[in-house]
Symmetry: C2
Subunit: 317 residues, 2 copies
């Protein structure tokens, strides 16, 4: 986790921008422009032209945002589901986005939430180590689901160690129904997510870096402030990735308890609050040129990223 | 689940072939042949040539197996992790494999084990509904992880209903460490996987088809025969996808209890036992031409698929 922590310190900003485009979050004229262009230059099955055009639009949208925030935030977190929704063309856009973000000095958290039995997890862990010496995904860390237990986790921890990368395991997610499984009370009074927290702390024990945190982080939703603060104490060597800020209801105050006494120990994600901030800008209209619309997207993303940074600085001061 | 059950009845065979290629499971001369060819015809970043070649080899391997088993088995289950290991080129191979299997009349279970919060799960559910009218993934069902609770599941159940497709939710996986979370005992004595089983039965209640099974199936590992039989009774409207047969230790006898009285209610997966059966054939040598090696792969896969079918028929008689 050292590279991420260094990046956070150098920007003095423990926040990450979620690059989660959807057709509603990308200005209509940008979606439209690339849809037409796709029809002109892409050889593809006719059926997939819409997806290919959307993927091109997503990439231009992401590029505008990355350019606008690269000097403010240490990291981005593309959510691969948004790209998978477009099929293979979306996957190309995902890896291009990861690569472009890295080229701009950003640490890339691939929000892929994979999880499977040992031999299969070893294949997923190629996200971190690449194939035959080539980095085919361009991620610095990935998110992982714990439901299959340690043999689904170990290939990721080994890959992280081998390739100087990190992982974040789901402990307490930000959504309302996470309670249905994660909050269940075990014999003896421990909750399922607390038990998972203990496993995560243990899975990371061999890879503690020079800031005191292991390569095996935890996902802890911003929507559970008290539980987050308790987990902070329970998992002293585990760095937190905190989703659910902004659109999902989390605030700088609600995440403050997930940081350690030095103001380290966590990175907070906002997606819609930053990449969708342009939707409240009165300068935007559907009649603007695509380039102008992307400038408005970029301006608003930059201001929203600065606001989030400043709110976190105040809450952690 | 009606389409799958019809396919099983028409082939009189409740088994599915796992299409999980790895460099070790594909004959060396096939890997080599397509690696060279990739260098000749693919425009790509040099770094990714190895992955592009491997993806081409995987597709030829899969095609040989699909051709060999299409009249014997009702379904195939490609494990997307094996393709993701190659990056975007692997994803292209995955969707081409799904499409080819369907063109050959097979029901395709995409083993993707996705799971996320509601809005993100809705993006993943495009695996079932496609993007803008185009079927970009070519799957008939997907596997889903339950750790995030119902709001991560509902988009999949809605998509399945909309597109006449199905899903299988992880309940009890086949790997040794699945016990670390799935077997935990809750207050009152229920185990976590039993609680998940009850949720799955409930999530499927609105989509029960004409054979009595809902669109929301369950993944129950062949390596837990007693628990599997108990789950069969506990989840009367839930169809089972049973991995872990063959290489992982499951037998026809150990899965028999996961079927209902009519010999329906489950489909059993074997991957390595079928696609890797060629490795025990004395006719194989590394000096054979790639085409000859693929013929040996195909012959052995066909025989192994027939053996599995016949063993299941005996065990269920």
């Amino acid at each position: 986790m050292d590279r991420l922590i260094e990046a956070i310190e150098s920007k003095q900003n423990p926040s990450v921008v979620g690059l989660d485009p959807t057709p509603a979050l990308v200005p209509a004229q940008v979606m439209g422009a690339y849809a037409v262009e796709a029809g002109e230059y892409v050889e593809d099955d006719d059926d997939n032209l819409a997806a290919t055009g959307a993927a091109a639009a997503y990439f231009e949208f992401n590029r505008a945002i990355i350019d606008a925030v690269a000097d403010i935030v240490p990291a981005v977190k593309p959510q691969i589901a948004m790209y998978e929704a477009l099929g293979p063309a979306g996957i190309d856009c995902y890896t291009m986005t990861c690569q472009y973000a890295r080229e701009n000095g950003l640490y890339v958290i691939g929000d892929i939430k994979r999880g499977d039995i040992g031999s299969t997890a070893a294949a997923y862990a190629k996200h971190l180590t690449g194939f035959d010496g080539a980095d085919v995904w361009h991620e610095d860390a990935v998110t992982v689901n714990p439901y299959l237990g340690s043999d689904g986790i170990e290939p990721f921890t080994a890959a992280a160690q081998e390739a100087d990368r990190d992982l974040f395991i789901l402990v307490r997610t930000s959504n309302p129904s996470s309670a249905q499984i994660q909050e269940l009370e075990l014999n003896g009074g421990t909750r399922v997510y607390e038990h998972v927290a203990d496993l995560v702390e243990q899975w990371g024990a061999d890879t503690i870096g020079r800031f005191g945190y292991s390569r095996t982080g935890a996902v802890v939703g911003a929507t559970h402030p008290e539980e987050g603060a308790a987990l902070r104490a329970r998992m002293p060597h585990t760095f937190f990735l905190v989703p659910g800020y902004g659109a999902q209801g989390g605030t700088a105050q609600s995440v403050a308890g997930m940081f350690d006494r030095d103001g380290s120990g966590a990175i907070v994600n906002s997606s819609r609050g930053i990449i969708g901030a342009w939707r409240n800008d009165p300068r935007y209209s559907e009649t603007l040129e695509p380039e102008t619309a992307l400038e408005i997207v970029a301006d608003n993303a930059r201001e929203a990223a600065k606001d989030m940074r400043d709110q976190l600085r105040v809450a952690l001061a």
